[in-house]
Amino acid sequence: MARLHPNGPKPAQITAGRIGLYAFLVVAALFFLLPLYTMVVTSLKSMPEIRLGQIFALPATLDFSAWATAWSGACMGTVCVGIRSGFWNSVAITLPSVALSVFIGAVNGYALSLWRPRGANLLFGLLMAGGLIPYQIFLYPMVRAMANIDLYNSLAGIILVHVIFGLPLVTLLFRNYFLSVPEELCKAARVDGAGFWRIFFEIMLPIAVPMVVVVSMLQFTGIWNDFLLGLVFAGRDNLPMTVQLNNIVNTTMGERTYNVNMAATILTAIVPLAIYFLSGRWFVRGIAAGAVKG
């Protein structure tokens, strides 16, 4: 969309409009960056320095002790073991949840789009309705049901819950993806004698690798950032990092150690942020797909 000039394109000029445009972008960038900046500087200050109330000032000396405390000594109520255990809980919850939900979602999408067995449309409709409805209506009966099968407050239980609640979106994305695969590919393979699973593993899954990456990204950040489900289903020993973080910051007794709180907050945000910065375009594609098609 080049701007058209009477004598062909001219080099971009510095005009009042351009200056205003950059000014807007820079101010917006400051608005978006300021919270991250204040978090980082707060986490590097000592408490006496924080009490001066200079939230934007750089720390006098670099002091990483708040980070060490946040990681291994911060208190949740009366227990002072840091956010370390929450970090490993989040890893233990997220990895299997992502792997399982992506696999089941891929199979679902493939079966629903290329095979369409009886009731496929009904199932898809039910799944989409389930995906729209607020979790609150499912929670209590699910807690009871999970308790009945001894999965309440367990690692397997919270993983199962994430897989269940991830199914609508993951299935939707894979279904739409496989709908764009030519049906002839599937038909040809069937004529050659390949069955449902062989076609899936040898043809469709390799084709769907880009979608697998996108959906994994989406699911990983979604599950890592989850608070509600972890709070309800994980149980004391498996609480994800987000829940522990909130416990550290919002239920502290005695004086609030803001530097430790901010270090713990950064530690919780660091994994999804790293994924965002490292995977860039894939992440953006994932959230755009999740947003537009969800």
Partner: protein, 295 residues
Amino acid sequence: MSIKRKPNLSATIALLPTWFVAVVVFIGTMAWSIRLSFTNSTLFPSSTYVGLAQYSKLFSSAKWLASLQNVLIFGVLYVAGCLLLGFLLAAALDRKIRFESAFRTIFLYPYAMSFVVTGLIWQWMLNPALGIQASVRSLGWESFVLDWVVNRDMAIYALVLAGVWQGAGLVMVIALAGMRGIEGEQWKAARIDGIPVWRIYVSIILPQLGPALAAAGMLLAMGVIKTYDIVVAMTNGGPGNATEVPAKFIMDNLFGRQNLGLATAGATVLVLGVIIAVAPFRYIMHMRDKAKGAA
């Protein structure tokens, strides 16, 4: 797929777990919850039906009414704020900007983080004793006030601020993708006619982005109904009931106050709210698909 019927058995079997989830988990638990909302259940489920008593109790609860009002204010401002800021950012980035990808990265990164993290960051920024307010006052402006998180009248706007900070990047990504898909010819034609750039964005680009922005707005609105984490992290519903939201009201009564009947009544109202909000949108999409199919 009509070469053979038999292999469909594998497809059917592969979908069985999903059938189980859809029917038992989604429909079954929802039916169970709705049933509970008509009973006098407190700590444990009861089978004594009390009709609409829980609903009348719900709608005579000041806390619930406050939560509805709050979620409405928050929802309207949050969705509008994200759409407006996101669109403006996208339009600015669309003007052949240097460092475009750096700006894009900066505007979107909050969206990668948990709502809990966002809530805690802004709780810290808005802390009146040590945050922005204290900093500005120490510069000499002694009467500067930015006490939103502890001010009953302003706390809900603190949530809006944090929410827009988190969500505007998403709208920007969607709007920018849409703008890049619009043909250069339209730009040339409009420029030849001497239409100013801002008019082109408002009158030509914006209408074409309509469906994508509507989808984004719809997604944000769904998030509003589920709003829970950010409130718990930032204000925990306070001060008073100033930031109480329905999802939190339900959670508190479900697990904190052991008030099952009331909580499930609230959850049922939320589900109805979603259906009412989504139905017209789905209907329009359905009619449009039908029209496309006929054409």
